[in-house]
Symmetry: D3
Subunit: 208 residues, 6 copies
Amino acid sequence: MLHILFLVALLFFPSFEAADFCVAKLKGAGSPSGYACRSPANVTVDDFVFTGLGIAGNTTNIISAAVTPAFVQQFPGVNGLGLSSARLDLAPGGVVPMHTHPAASEILFVASGKITAGFISSSANTAYVKTLNKGDVMIFPQGLLHFQINAGGTPALAIVSFNSPEPGLQILDFALFGNNLPSQLVEKTTFLDDAQVKKLKGVLGGTG
Amino acid sequence: MLHILFLVALLFFPSFEAADFCVAKLKGAGSPSGYACRSPANVTVDDFVFTGLGIAGNTTNIISAAVTPAFVQQFPGVNGLGLSSARLDLAPGGVVPMHTHPAASEILFVASGKITAGFISSSANTAYVKTLNKGDVMIFPQGLLHFQINAGGTPALAIVSFNSPEPGLQILDFALFGNNLPSQLVEKTTFLDDAQVKKLKGVLGGTG
Amino acid sequence: MLHILFLVALLFFPSFEAADFCVAKLKGAGSPSGYACRSPANVTVDDFVFTGLGIAGNTTNIISAAVTPAFVQQFPGVNGLGLSSARLDLAPGGVVPMHTHPAASEILFVASGKITAGFISSSANTAYVKTLNKGDVMIFPQGLLHFQINAGGTPALAIVSFNSPEPGLQILDFALFGNNLPSQLVEKTTFLDDAQVKKLKGVLGGTG
Amino acid sequence: MLHILFLVALLFFPSFEAADFCVAKLKGAGSPSGYACRSPANVTVDDFVFTGLGIAGNTTNIISAAVTPAFVQQFPGVNGLGLSSARLDLAPGGVVPMHTHPAASEILFVASGKITAGFISSSANTAYVKTLNKGDVMIFPQGLLHFQINAGGTPALAIVSFNSPEPGLQILDFALFGNNLPSQLVEKTTFLDDAQVKKLKGVLGGTG
Amino acid sequence: MLHILFLVALLFFPSFEAADFCVAKLKGAGSPSGYACRSPANVTVDDFVFTGLGIAGNTTNIISAAVTPAFVQQFPGVNGLGLSSARLDLAPGGVVPMHTHPAASEILFVASGKITAGFISSSANTAYVKTLNKGDVMIFPQGLLHFQINAGGTPALAIVSFNSPEPGLQILDFALFGNNLPSQLVEKTTFLDDAQVKKLKGVLGGTG
Amino acid sequence: MLHILFLVALLFFPSFEAADFCVAKLKGAGSPSGYACRSPANVTVDDFVFTGLGIAGNTTNIISAAVTPAFVQQFPGVNGLGLSSARLDLAPGGVVPMHTHPAASEILFVASGKITAGFISSSANTAYVKTLNKGDVMIFPQGLLHFQINAGGTPALAIVSFNSPEPGLQILDFALFGNNLPSQLVEKTTFLDDAQVKKLKGVLGGTG
């Protein structure tokens, strides 16, 4: 009977690999749907596991916060699967500044501490802000400005997930002040004062 | 033969309406895919035509510019069809301030005048800026901060299209300064000075 | 200037609500894209926050485990946004039995404890199994059989996210033994022995 | 133990219905994603089965052919599931005239007889034509003009499937000659002669 | 006039190929959206036709059944077009065992014979089972466990189509018993008895 | 502080490029989702700008019209971004003949002149026709036959946009008469007379 059932196997499984997954070949060129797939023969369970989120980010910086991504570039197993994650470490007083993810919505879980989080709707400009406790989840719709702030006296940790392996991360201050976009253009398009723009360009390494 | 061919018609066209289009019932509740469809029996060609983009926007305002949308709320025929448009009027000195469309990429055509336009990439923060002449088109990837400025001494007109009937429009200054998001939160998440935030909140009608 | 800028606001924001979000009206009929949207006028930040994942599930049961979902039915704010979450509580010896999510991939974060998790590829039937430590994340491709087991002597907690507000949950044993599918059909389609099928049907409340 | 496992069931299955399927309420308004869902409580297996394709279409007409659809309007169980089917009956000499499906690709299986089928690519205008035997399958890319002709002396039967519950069906001759589109416009946009247009308008019931 | 119209052709058809189709280069690496496209210059109508479904599968095996796929690996013309097919041969007493397609819904047409088919919903665990006659079609929602059994005394043939070129095929018994997943893990996650697991592992070639 | 903030930058921007855009490598093989991406290091703003639509098409031809595309093959920056554009020049009497775009809906803006445009619905065969003035926009649903005609005594210009970088363009006359599809097949599938077919094949360079 063993022999016969192996025949079954052959009949049911012609010579092909299903498209269950597509672990990224990060070295090659991407495509609009993501990276090329590594051969399943070279894939192991370790490609589907990422250990980097177990390590606290270094929050000894000006924002007292750190973001550690598990996007496709760090975690090639998520390629083509429509998901990725990151950890947010917020020391007391820490803040993840105003930012957007152009390509994904975000769901945030507070693993420890207290976090004040919010997003602003488009067109109506409504601010949705709430202080979250350990265990709470909050959803941030795709592409909207949002932020997270430590709302307690102890370190806070959040785990966030995105419905894209490459959600993107556009931090407002870096976008405005951390490049060579001329101050004059920044001022004209944001109504910020020249002194304000130049101060932040100075701090964030921007030129122009 | 006429009789026979009408029989053909009956055989080929059983009693159903195809889903070629889904003109929006704007009064009812929407769904994640858009508005409910009006009955095809009540649809005419006028539902697929929008005349509002033929009228210049009023640019006698502080930004010397105007945006006239033909999104699904103004133009119900685009519901479910993955497209919408808008016109941008830019008087000399006019500017469409820094903004994003959370739900769509944008393609801009310069119908008249000269426009300096740009967008900023996420993560790498690169500013892509160019002065466009009449007839040029520029593409703005979904969700990224971008702007348009009149770059000449005469009025400029651009027609923009989006790959969504509801692209959304989040203008940075209105999002930061035009609502009740407390100044303290704005400052903490943007590194802007208190005086700057309060000045713009005052101007844009924000509170807190 | 205030007056003029409010004019700007009117020009930029014609009378429409953008489709940033679509908080579910759970009482009404759904559609293939999800539930109808509640009016934004009735939406508050609490619609985007779910506190139920902060409460440990009751693991005093035969599997020493509990799954607490934050799918659209529990958390209407995720409707249309392509994400949902759940918490898994695994007491020592606990197991989340073999199951699939027909409509989503899953990313799992180990918040505490040690978990052995695995999935089986289709066609090639390869088992990808790994013992995960606190802080590890693992990705489970859409629709594949997978499981989680407490691999330590202490309670384990995992937070999982899905790229759908309604990922579905098909637990193998409930699908085979918890309904009125006749034993004869179960046996013929699974090769399980009659005694085995009847035993599990008895335990899980199945008939036939 | 029974008691305890039922507790498991309650823990695993909170009070919600998964979105496995969405059987169409055909009476109500559709949406861009399809029809509203009937309550699962009112759904039976008969909603997922359609018997109408078992009945040969009446081919005693001018084209000696018949198309019997199992689209969402006839088969509400396919709503939201991305598939539909139809049967093509071709008497000797029968033809399914040049047509497109605006919203789906098509895969055709020859159940009996011989069929010459073809499609024309866009831009390059290449005609891909082949005579198919019983058991052959052919794929027709979305939106391209294609046709099927009985290529033998016996009746032919094909079963076709589409990757949409509402593929649409635009038959070239009905589109050009079966409505009130003025002859002058037809002629100007197709280069067909006036006599030809009027002849076919006469036959197909067109006016103008 | 010929000369002039060829000029038209040049004006209308600048030097590009449209993306009507993308016949798979099976040798190269895939991507999340499928295989790379062969050059249209090397594509012929034979790439869009597959003759393998015309040949009855060999049912002289333990399940008295055979599945013959026309997925992208066998039929490269379906790459990127969102469809594929397969034939099911069921000798008297034959069965296609309990399985899922992780990446597609399925529509089944009974070409000859009688087939009892069913699927089980997720969450609610309802079994939808029906005996189908020649000509009936049945829809199986994506990712749900389902099966087909010959319900008559004569051979049965079904043609199935999927809304993906790579639907995947996860046969429950092969997933559980046909690999090196340790018996202890299988038992713990399925509640099956050790003897049952070992018996089926023995038969299906599993180890551990 | 500068030093510290640069540390922030490093923490926030680990070594990866976001998938904001994917400028096409046109030389390589495409995939179902589009062309492979050029390295962002080699991308400049000029990749996001196309100047070819600023040049009037040559309308000294039989249709007194010209179509100038800005599809991905001409404008590689639109790859993966779901949009493209084209310009239509219509001299007095000019016509864009009956055609479809198999892969996209179209939105048309009248930049100058008067244009009569229309499309025909599938199944119901309704013709939706309207004469458009400067500034009007009209939407054409995906895959449906449509046309544009100069409706005034002066040149007309339209800018059209599509929700795909590769919308495709199937012009009815070229599809029917501009290739080697045998006249007999054309006649049998369109009901056109032999003389009509041969006349147009002669004019458009078709054979067979």
